[in-house]
């Protein structure tokens, strides 16, 4: 599913060069639920951005779902993001002026899906995250946990190969965190591949594999017994 090999990513600020990722190789199989952990500055977010085709890297190769995506231009990566990757952000990033239904349907708009089908698929995605009522409401009318469910629905609506979540529970209380992790586990059970960046060990316990980064290097990669609800 995801194969990165010898990825190097450096940032240059002034005369200083910072190595954000130092020759990282990682393989994630379809159906996995992986947590990427590490302190801030460890390179975990950089890797996440590269995996999500939001950022480029200096050296190495990235093969996503059999396709070499190492050297795509902006428009090509936009299309791959739309089709293959679903994003869940720490601060939800919902469109404030759009209804919940419209928010969820947005990736389908960019995919060129017809309005009628968009609505059906958005409703189905909302169903999967347990939020099929209040779909006409605006995001500011619902709670944080509900917002993140909307964001997850949006991430899965175009049936991507992989769901990438960047600190998805960072803005949520512990009870809501459990709810969101349950949804992730359910989606994973149904076959969705999930990669999640987190710095909270207790959140990482809900995943099946933990990859740990420190100072731009992959320092630990282990499978674990998933904590179930």
């Amino acid at each position: 599913m995801i194969q990165v090999k010898d990825i190097v990513k450096t940032y240059t600020t002034g005369s200083e060069t910072l190595v954000a990722l130092d020759t990282i190789s990682l393989e994630i199989m379809a159906g996995e639920f992986t947590a990427i952990m590490g302190p801030s500055g460890s390179g975990k977010s950089t890797l996440m951005n590269i995996l999500g085709l939001l950022d480029r890297f200096d050296l190495g190769t990235y093969i996503l779902n059999g396709q070499n995506v190492s050297d795509l231009n902006d428009n090509e990566s936009a299309k791959v993001r739309n089709k293959e990757i679903g994003f869940v952000f720490q601060s939800f990033n919902l469109m404030p002026r759009m209804s919940i239904l419209e928010n969820v349907a947005l990736p389908l708009v960019y995919a060129g899906v017809k309005p009628k089908e968009r609505k059906e698929r958005a409703l189905a995605a909302l169903e999967r995250v347990g939020l099929s009522n209040r779909v006409k409401h605006k995001p500011n009318e619902i709670s944080g946990g509900q917002k993140q469910r909307v964001a997850i629905a949006r991430a899965i609506v175009n049936e991507p190969s992989v769901l990438m979540a960047d600190e998805p529970t960072g803005n949520l209380d512990s009870k809501t965190t459990v709810d969101i992790m349950r949804i992730f586990q359910e989606l994973n059970t149904e076959g969705t591949t999930i990669v999640m960046v987190t710095h909270e060990p207790e959140v990482a316990l809900y995943t099946k594999r933990i990859v740990t980064f420190r100072d731009g290097a992959l320092v630990n990669d282990q499978l674990q017994q998933q904590k179930l609800m």
Partner: protein, 408 residues
Amino acid sequence: MNIRENFKMAVDSIFSNKLRSILTMLGIIIGIAAVIAILAVGNGATSEITKTFNDFGASTISLSVSDEATGNEMITDADIVALKSSIPEITRISPDNTANTTVRSDFESRSALAFSGTPDLQYTNQSMDSTIVSGRYFNQNDYDDAKEVVVISEDTATALFNGRQDVIGETIQLIGNTGNVLNLKIIGIVKGTFQELQGSFDLSQMPLSLALPLITMEKLNPSVAVINSLTVQVTDKNAIESVSNRMVRLLETRHDSVGDDYYTATNFLQALDQVDSVLGLFVNFIAAVAAIALLVGGIGVMNIMLVSVTERTREIGTRKALGATTNTILFQFLMEAVILTLIGGIIGLVLGILLANGISNALSIVPNITLGSVLLVLLFSTAVGIFFGIYPARKAAKLDPIEALRYE
């Protein structure tokens, strides 16, 4: 991503900031309203003036004698005959004399404007409608024999005969400034002259109007009938310039005053040109003001779009993460700018039409709003939106998604 989606997003965004959008559109609204109003009023005025001149006949020449001329340079009956015979293009020629007189019937005495000339006066008189209602106009026989006949207007008949119109054959008295009296037989009635002024003036105070042969008029008072202006009609309006020049030359030769510039021939084409150029100047001035308003309006749109791009940086980042391409974002913001200016343009159009109607009512002309000017406004508003929207839209489209997602 289709146009409908973009349109909906743009409209949502514009309506979620109503006050800001309206303020942004203000420059566009004022500019467009000014353009539309001035085009409508300008076109209306031009067509009104053109129509008036066409009524008089675009093939009409007015010849006048300068105030500096002495009695020797005044036009004589012989001049008229000479002009008519030596310039074949002249179809009608008549002096254009107007005298202030008093007219008296058995019932009433009123001041009157007495128009006198050759029988061609029927066609050349611009101050009095010469459409015959009953009877006839005076003819060449009346003129040659200096018959004491008169043509009066319906209003004159009404005023002098207690409302009667069947007054042909009746006699009225014309009294000149020196007290001379001329008895005139009414031979024809023409349409009333000041009907259109009814309601706004006290009709009993208006001078009446009548027309009679110049030769007859001279009997009343020779000095009343000095010819210092002629109205001439020519066969073809293309001949106007040439006829004008030949008339002036002939008169100068006959009066031995070549080069003294006593005679001036003007025609309505010239007058129309003058009106056109004055109107054109005015239109250009307003157009310049409108252009500045549109420029400022456009800059306002650009400014607010830049603010909008900054405010929505995270939104742009999110959209890119969800699969929006550079062009999609570009198009979205461009669409927003265009819709902003287009709505401004449409509001301006409506305001401009209202304004044009208001101004036109005050000037009593008919505003002329053409489909062309409406299309021009829509096209121009769109162009302003694209021109001033492209920079903010490109800025939005080129945002780095990671930077944009991190933006607080």
